[in-house]
């Protein structure tokens, strides 16, 4: 009778996998598979599928309320509205660094939290902010009032002609 223990495993003749060990492996992997799927589900839950909060779209008044060369600050809505010869434009008042509300300064805008400074068009002048203040989309509602879409950024220099 040949001694099976003498048979050495080789690459060409790998040892046979026992049915029992195959089944245990399958059972274990199905267990860990189920656990990881469950874990992924648990971790997926806190990622908000819908972002709550009101639509940030504000009626700011009729165009004739904004004289050419004037500006207005909307504090609660955190943006500034300007009118020059080419039209009306809105610049966000939320600092691009860490979200503080900027104030007007001689130069343009200044952030109180970490000293970011922006030029008159919102471009970055100094401090840690990674980019300039975003320009916001301006439009007109059906009743003729101007609307600022505070969630929609537009390219700097985009003005709404009235």
């Amino acid at each position: 009778m040949p001694d099976m223990s003498e048979q050495r495993p080789s690459r060409l003749e790998p040892p046979r996998i026992q049915r029992r060990s195959f089944l245990s492996l399958a059972a274990l992997s199905s267990f860990f598979g189920a656990v990881s799927v469950a874990l992924a589900g648990v971790l997926r839950l806190p990622k908000p599928a819908v972002l709550p909060g009101p639509v940030r779209r504000f009626k700011i008044g009729f165009p004739d309320q904004f004289a050419v060369g004037s500006e207005a600050r909307f504090e609660q809505e955190t943006f500034f509205v300007f009118r020059d010869a080419q039209g009306i434009y809105a610049i966000s008042g939320v600092c691009t660094h860490l979200g503080c509300s900027v104030a007007r300064s001689a130069q343009g805008f200044a952030c109180p939290c970490h000293g970011s400074r922006f030029g008159a068009t919102g471009s970055i002048v100094g401090g840690p902010a990674p980019r300039g203040l975003p320009w916001l989309e301006v439009g007109r509602a059906a009743d003729g009032q101007l609307v600022v879409y505070a969630d929609n950024e537009v390219a700097a220099g985009t003005r709404f002609r009235v």
């Binding site: 806190p46 908000p48 504090e75 860490l98 979200g99 952030c111 970490h114 970055i124 840690p128 990674p130």
Partner: protein, 517 residues
């Protein structure tokens, strides 16, 4: 055998009823008196669920106050205080943006002892953070992270993160101005990988920053969803994780052979309060097992006598003393100093300056140069550096002794000076001459992200440490140099941002110089 009569059973019942107080007391306090023999003392330890995490005997060196300064215990004690006071605060606190602030005011002005409990919660939190930092420094400078304690060092670093996470999530809950704006800044630091993804233009496809921020806030702004998330993290998720890790931490101390200590000199027994007994006979010849726990012969292993004493009462007295001292400290602080409460959160007007709690202010100083590097990368690099220490410094020696290998103390002093000088010099430079954008207004954002005074500081410290490694030919000395430098840098940045930063994050020599507005 005759059946006992009914009358006998009744008598027995009445008899048992009569002895009820005594038998219940015996069941409760099994011994019923202070242990007298060493056998009873050992049983007092290992028959009690709460005490048996300690070994029955403890090395006299572990009891020396100068070795540990009781810092781990102080942190634990303050955590216990935090749990108790936290549950009391939960009785009145309402996690909603409309009610949170009012409920804190109620706690402060109306609820009986409410103000005191809230103060206690706040002061215990400060004590815990300080104790955790100092505990880490203690473990480092006594080389107690070395094999086999590497794993417990990692667990400790996990506990450090959880401690800071608990502090940060607790900061929002009062929903006052400070809370609101600190959370706004904190969540935008989580958002700051966007600086990098924006700069290379891939945010549309890959936005880890926005993901982190939304995960934290549950919305795009700090409001109801953020408050409830912070609340759940603060009162459930993080404490449960912390207790779990803390259990592992304690258990590992035991499994790693108690506190780190140098080998006992053969033959000699250390003194312990004049009552030191040489407990185990050297060169014993027989008996294994529990007998070794108490006076008698020990299994013959190749070591000298062990300088151990019974945990009961020596260790428990010491622990109780530390617990009472920490509690007393927190009580005194809470009695005299009220926890602050600013005005109700107002999203339109930022607090100026909006400062995080003191232990985050060092980071806030770095964040004021660039958020991603200062707020995320540098803390991450520091944390990973700390985590790697026991795996890079693997040569034994000096465990359980302050500055245990030759030249360590000197190296610590030199590195402290270098670390302080580098940090102060760099801050003086930025205060007087500005930073990159003041010199090169058109500079690309990637440079702003990469070259933060913090990253310069990290490079300086790493260079100093590598120099020590080459000059002194010792990994441990290089580790001491690096750790000391980071400690110095952390201290300088924290102090600087606490005292010298005012409105608009500008430099002032003193808060009384802040402009009035």
């Amino acid at each position: 055998m005759a059946e006992p009569s009914q009358a006998a059973a009744t008598r027995e019942f009445v008899e048992n009823l009569r002895h009820l107080p005594r038998t219940v007391k015996d069941a409760w306090f099994r011994l019923g008196r202070v242990p007298e023999s060493e056998r009873e003392e050992s049983q007092a330890t290992f028959h009690n669920l709460f005490l048996h995490i300690h070994s029955v005997r403890i090395h006299v060196r572990s009891l020396a106050p100068a070795l540990t300064l009781g810092l781990g215990l102080i942190a634990t004690a303050s955590f216990v205080l935090l749990c108790i006071t936290g549950v009391l605060l939960m009785v009145y606190y309402k996690p909603s943006t409309a009610l949170a602030y009012d409920s804190i005011k109620d706690l402060h002005y109306v609820v009986f002892t409410g103000r005191f409990i809230r103060n206690l919660h706040r002061w215990s939190a400060h004590v815990m953070v300080i104790a955790v930092f100092l505990h880490m420094a203690r473990v480092f400078y006594t080389a107690s992270y070395k094999r086999p304690r590497e794993f417990n060092w990692l667990v400790g670093l996990g506990l450090l993160v959880l401690t800071l996470g608990l502090s940060f999530t607790g900061y929002l809950l009062p929903y006052d101005q400070l809370a609101y704006w600190a959370t706004m800044i904190g969540s935008n630091i989580a958002n700051s990988p966007r600086e990098l993804t924006d700069a290379i233009g891939i945010t549309k496809w890959f936005d880890p920053g926005g993901f982190q921020r939304r995960l934290l806030l549950g919305a795009n702004y700090v409001g109801e969803d953020a408050l409830i998330r912070f609340y759940v993290l603060h009162v459930f998720v993080l404490p449960v994780l912390l207790v779990t890790l803390l259990s592992v931490h304690f258990w590992r101390i035991r499994k790693d052979g108690g506190l780190a200590k140098p080998e006992d000199a053969p033959g000699g027994a250390a003194e312990w309060g004049g009552t030191m007994k040489r407990v185990f006979e050297p060169l014993a010849t027989k008996t294994y097992g529990l007998m070794a726990l108490v006076k008698g012969r020990r299994p013959p292993v190749n070591r000298g006598p062990e300088n151990t004493v019974m945990s009961w009462p020596h260790l428990f007295w010491a622990e109780l003393a530390v617990f009472m001292a920490s509690t007393a400290l927190c009580l005194i602080l809470s009695f005299y100093l009220d926890a602050p409460l600013k005005e109700l959160a107002n999203p339109a007007v930022p607090e100026n300056p909006a400062k995080a709690p003191w232990y985050f202010l060092g980071l806030q100083e770095l964040v004021s140069y660039s958020a991603f590097m200062g707020g995320l990368l540098i803390p991450l690099i520091t944390w990973i550096g700390l985590a790697m220490i026991p795996f890079l410094d693997r040569r034994g020696g000096g465990e359980g002794v302050w500055f245990g290998t030759p030249g360590e103390r000197r190296m610590a002093w030199q590195s402290l000076l270098f670390g302080l000088a580098a940090a102060v010099g760099l801050l003086a430079l930025t205060v007087n001459f500005g930073w990159l954008r003041s010199w090169f207004p058109k500079i690309h954002q990637l440079w702003i992200i990469a070259i933060n005074p913090g990253s310069i500081l990290v490079l300086l410290y790493a260079g100093w440490s590598l120099g020590v490694l080459r000059r002194r030919n010792s990994v441990r000395l290089a580790a001491v140099a690096l750790f000391t430098c980071f400690l110095a840098g952390f201290t300088v940045l924290t102090y600087f941002a606490t005292v010298h930063r005012g409105p608009n994050w500008q430099f002032y020599w003193w808060p009384s110089h802040w402009p009035v507005h």
